[in-house]
């Protein structure tokens, strides 16, 4: 018999509803797993054990009273610590927000509570979601469950590690330049960045708001699709929310890729991409071919400029978004009475923000400043248009694009952190989906030296259905998603 913490979300809810075990027992098993493992893994910044047990008891009461239960009834979900949770500390892994207690819930949190999900805690991340390794966190780095010396990817590294260590059954991440897909790839879980506008960003602490989306993370595609169905949908509180009918994405899950047209962009398999990564991804593509899909290599020349354009746009938006942190209404404030505004403000921001956040704010300020605006920011936005046009063109011919999620397998903690540019380079394959707003998923497709490799599938805007069906088919015909690290 599998232990409760090993089960999928749908199994958990079914068993709670069938009274095979109590929600409380299951939540206890998740919490004891966290107590046992998280001292080393450090996936969580805050564990809301009391609130979670109370929520579980409420679910159990409703079961015994035979009342209607939500779709995620009792399921333990980990929330990246950049989404506002009313009454629960939300730090963004920053000293700046170390003691910030939001007075409201993000829309996605309201939706989860509406389906009786149980929030188990807030997960570790790169500070303000700026990073690829979860090493820039004020709460210390998260470790990869597959190898404790390796990075779990980032910035949603805590969410991915919590899933793979079975310290949660579902998780939410956010993805500005790959921050869901990268840790999904590095921890061997499923992570989807939805089309821009599909999931409300209300209550997501902004980093670069024209690029980022909240998205579902899970241990298999079916759970990922169910979670997307819960968190997606129009929200008047987010002015960039797309007003489209609600969908149940699990309806798209068929073991069928017959006739699927796969484009393989050659730029994603360049010299910067590791050979073993290439091999695993090509094996996956040949696998799809054997299942009835057809692939063709294709070139998207604008991709070459996407990484530079991405960082210019992201840093520029960050410099504007993070200007709000003055320490007055909330956030770190060490100003002494009588000090002048400019000095107090600059000091709060020096101590409150870590080096990577300061780097991005200053470079973003530079890119937006008089004399450099056209040279950097405007040029990057024009390149963004060229990439969109290339995507629109290529998707006339293909249903999905396939590529590696990350150019290299997980590396050692500390290996690249002193070299910002080397870390930025790791995002080269994930940023195009953010610049264009297209949906993209990472699913497990292999291992290199015991460390996971992820396959990236990019789809057409608001065609998450096809992306998920493709991912589901791969999962049905392989067993990479069933592998677990030895942790006990």
């Amino acid at each position: 018999m599998p232990k409760p913490h090993e089960l999928s979300a749908r199994e958990v809810t079914a068993k709670i509803k069938a009274q095979e075990f109590k929600a409380e027992e299951y939540i206890q098993s998740i919490l004891s797993r966290e107590r046992k493992l998280d001292g080393e893994i450090n996936a969580y910044i805050t564990v809301t054990d009391e609130e979670a047990l109370n929520a579980a008891k409420t679910v159990d009461k409703r079961v015994s009273e035979k009342k209607k239960l939500g779709r995620l009834a009792g399921v333990a979900i980990a929330i990246k610590d950049n989404m506002c949770t009313k009454g629960t500390r939300t730090t963004c892994a920053s000293k700046m927000l170390e003691n910030f207690i939001p007075p409201y819930n993000a829309t996605v949190i309201e939706k989860l509570i509406g389906e009786d999900a149980v929030i188990i805690g807030k997960t570790n991340m790169d500070e303000f979601a700026m990073g690829t390794t979860t090493e820039t966190s004020y709460s210390g780095p998260t470790r990869n469950p597959w190898n404790l010396a390796a990075v779990p990817g980032g910035s949603s590294g805590g969410s991915a590690a919590a899933l793979m260590a079975e310290e949660a059954t579902l998780a939410l991440g956010s993805d500005t330049g790959g921050s869901i897909r990268c840790p999904a790839s590095y921890c061997s879980v499923v992570g989807l960045k939805p089309t821009y506008g599909l999931v409300s960003r209300y209550g997501l602490i902004a980093y670069a708001n024209s690029l980022e989306q909240i998205g579902p993370m899970a241990r298999d595609v079916c759970d990922c699709a169910a979670l997307l169905s819960v968190i997606s949908g129009y929200d008047p509180m987010d002015s960039t929310s797309a007003n489209l009918p609600q969908k149940d994405y699990t309806n798209y899950l068929r073991d069928d890729v017959e006739g699927l047209r796969i484009g393989v962009p050659t730029e994603f398999f360049g010299e910067g991409t590791d050979d073993e990564v290439k091999k695993s991804v090509w094996d996956a593509i040949y696998g799809f071919e054997a299942l009835g899909a057809a692939y063709e290599e294709v070139s998207l020349s604008s991709l070459e400029f996407s990484l530079a354009a991405y960082y210019i746009v992201a840093m520029s938006e960050a410099s504007s978004n993070l200007a709000r942190y003055d320490g007055l209404r909330y956030g770190y404030n060490a100003s002494k009475d009588g000090s002048d505004w400019s000095t107090a403000y600059s000091r709060n921001r020096r101590i409150g923000f870590g080096p990577e956040v300061r780097r991005r704010i200053i470079l973003g300020t530079y890119a937006l400043s008089a004399g450099y605006y056209n040279r950097y920011y405007l040029k990057a936005l024009k390149i963004r248009t060229s990439i969109r046009r290339d995507f629109e063109e290529v998707f006339k011919k293909f249903d999905v694009l396939m590529a590696p999620t990350m150019p290299i397998p997980p590396f050692k903690i500390g290996e690249k952190i002193q070299d910002p540019l080397a870390l930025y380079m790791c995002d080269v394959l994930t940023v195009p989906a953010n610049l264009t707003g297209y949906p993209a998923i990472s699913i497990p497709c292999g291992f290199s030296d015991g460390l996971p490799i992820g396959l990236q599938i990019i789809g057409k805007p608001f065609d998450e259905g096809t992306v998920l069906r493709t991912a589901y088919t791969f999962e049905k015909n392989t067993d990479f998603h069933k592998k677990r690290p030895k942790l006990e």
Binding site: T240, D340, T343, S346, I362, K382, I383, R388
Partner: protein, 97 residues
């Protein structure tokens, strides 16, 4: 290192614009790192975008308004809860002039 794009003095100036104090040591490391990053950003000069319009964001949404109706909001007490310095129902700011 290739061309020097930004001097230590310029880094100081931009940090001041961004209201971020930097230590002397940091000014040096940041200048080095910024030069490396800006050199990489030169890549964007290789493509001609003369006639390409910019994309500010990817949805075809312009000016999304809500109705001008008063709705329930967070309480005054909640709004002040995270402020470290407050006085008589105001946030207390440092001296401005």
């Amino acid at each position: 290192m290739r061309k020097r794009r930004i001097t230590k003095e310029e880094v100081e100036h931009v940090a001041w614009l961004a209201h971020i104090e930097l230590s002397e040591e940091e000014k040096v490391t940041f200048t080095e790192q910024f030069n490396e990053i800006l050199n990489y950003f030169e890549k964007i000069d290789e493509t001609d975008t003369e006639d390409v319009p910019p994309t500010y964001h990817v949805l075809d949404l312009v000016n999304v308004y809500r109705g001008d109706e008063a709705k329930e909001s967070i309480t005054r007490e909640d709004a002040f809860r995270n402020a470290s310095k407050k006085e008589n129902g105001f946030f207390k700011a440092p001296r401005i002039v």
